[in-house]
């Protein structure tokens, strides 16, 4: 039964390779430029797209000047107008920062409000979304806006809105989203290209574990110094 999953995964990878590399490159350049100026990357995703933010932030072999924008209900109230706005009021976001927002639909109110806040504060915005679906869907936020419309760079997961890759017979439903799989492949490609750029800019100390593994004691003081500089901006709680 799993054969269909593997086939769809391979097709998804082909579609990204054939159509999204330029946008991915543009997103990576935007992030590297932001970090050069002392900005940080702030990852956001509602509900299970929290994983999208997780991909980018706080991991060994990943970028250090990063923060997850945690929405404390894990998306339970994402359809409630105002949740995103209230939350963003207590989030430290500065003009030199980049918000990377992963959202399958681009229309959920919390997601739209995070995008609005990012633009209001002059930060850059990268949106990873299922573009075809996002364009077809009616906006549901009172502003009439969709997240991708506000983005400086849009990357398409190349997956249709229905997100269906499998319809169990006898069940009016659709399960399993390859759009999430596409999202994490895109996010790690962005991470890789940002790192390459940082290396060229002699900023590789902004990569966690770049001077040897995290377990290597000789890298610890160096990492600690860099952390100290960013601590107030990247703390997890």
């Amino acid at each position: 039964m799993s054969e269909k999953v593997f086939e769809d995964a391979l097709n998804t990878l082909d579609r990204i390779e054939n159509s999204q590399v330029a946008s991915i490159r543009a997103a990576a350049d935007l992030i590297a430029k932001s970090m050069e100026k002392g900005g940080i990357l702030q990852g956001f995703g509602s509900g299970y797209y929290l994983s999208g933010a997780r991909e980018l932030c706080h991991r060994v072999g990943g970028l250090m000047p990063t923060k997850i924008i945690y929405e404390p209900s894990y998306g339970r109230f994402e359809s409630l107008v105002g949740v995103g706005k209230q939350m963003m009021e207590i989030v430290d976001l500065r003009p030199e920062d980049v918000v990377v927002l992963s959202s399958h639909s681009s229309i959920v109110p919390t997601v739209v409000e995070v995008a609005i806040a990012a633009k209001e504060r002059g930060a850059s915005l990268i949106v990873i979304t299922s573009l075809e679906g996002a364009q077809k869907q009616q906006a549901i936020h009172p502003s009439g806006k969709k997240a991708y419309e506000m983005a400086d760079v849009v990357i398409d997961t190349c997956f249709p809105y229905s997100e269906a890759m499998f319809d169990p017979e006898g069940k009016d439903t659709e399960v399993i989203g390859m759009s999430y799989y596409a999202t994490i492949v895109i996010l790690q490609t962005i991470t890789m290209l940002v790192m390459e750029r940082l290396s060229e800019l002699k900023l590789s100390h902004l990569i966690i574990g770049a001077t040897g593994s995290k377990l290597d004691p000789k890298s610890v003081p160096f990492v600690r110094d860099t952390y100290k500089k960013y601590k107030t901006r990247t703390q997890r709680f």
Binding site: G61, P72, R76, Q188
Partner: protein
């Protein structure tokens, strides 16, 4: 300059790994979950730190299982190295007969994970582990028992990811970088969800799968009834001490 398609190429490699080497484990994990759910149990998914990504793939998604919940620990991985934390956390977690516990941890060596796995098995519940077998074996357990996650599991899904979850070499950077465990894990988790859902539908348990929002009112009512039945077990706000 680095090949822009490097991650895509790595992703293809992990599709092949799952397809060629993990199919039996995928099927076994699926049948354990189907069996537990048919008997009235729920799926409890946990991933520490960034492995929460995998746990989120298993629960709370439209088209996914209703009898499933995400277990959240409040430190976001910060306390996973502390001995005793997993034990205390599990004191507060409701695990019952016929439940299936699913732990995702690349290294499988931290005290939180070991204590959690140990507790689950002591309570007589099935445990599925998603881990890196080669990574786990290379590293030393950080728990005094010396044990690792895979040693407790009824079935191990092996993601075959390097120990420190870094896979790309970039000029000018001393160590390897870029974590691909989520990409590898997805190819093990999605087939499991796929199999479980289809099996439940085939066996007449399709009402335990969330309908999409476009469903008819009658179907939504049916779903609400199922939800009611499981509410005390899957209500998301009782996940330990979540914010």
């Amino acid at each position: 300059m680095i090949n822009e398609n490097r991650i895509i190429e790595i992703a293809r490699k992990y599709v092949a790994h799952a397809r060629n080497h993990q199919r039996e484990n995928i099927d076994l994990a699926s049948s354990i979950i189907v069996d537990g759910i048919k008997k009235g149990g729920i799926l409890i998914a946990f991933g520490s730190g960034h492995s929460i990504a995998g746990a989120l793939e298993l629960v709370n998604r439209r088209g996914g299982l209703i009898p499933a919940r995400l277990l959240i620990e409040p430190s976001f991985g910060k306390y996973e190295v502390l001995q005793g934390y997993g034990q205390r956390l599990m004191d507060e977690v409701d695990v019952r007969e016929n439940d299936v516990f699913f732990i995702i941890s690349n290294s499988g060596i931290h005290p939180l994970i070991i204590e959690m796995a140990d507790t689950v098995k002591k309570r007589g519940v099935k445990l599925i582990a998603l881990t890196s077998l080669k990574g786990s074996k290379e590293l030393t357990s950080r728990h005094p028992s010396g044990k690792k996650l895979f040693e407790f599991a009824d079935v191990v899904l092996d993601n075959n990811v390097p120990a420190l979850d870094v896979s790309v070499s970039i000029e000018g950077i001393e160590a390897d970088v870029v974590g691909i465990s989520s990409i590898a894990n997805s190819m093990l988790l999605q087939p499991v969800i796929h199999n479980v859902t289809q099996q439940l539908v085939n066996d007449g348990f399709g009402h335990l799968v969330y309908d999409v929002s476009t469903s008819s009112d009658a179907k939504k009512r049916g779903e609400k009834e199922v939800f009611e039945k499981y509410r005390d077990r899957i209500y998301r706000n009782d996940n330990a001490i979540i914010g």
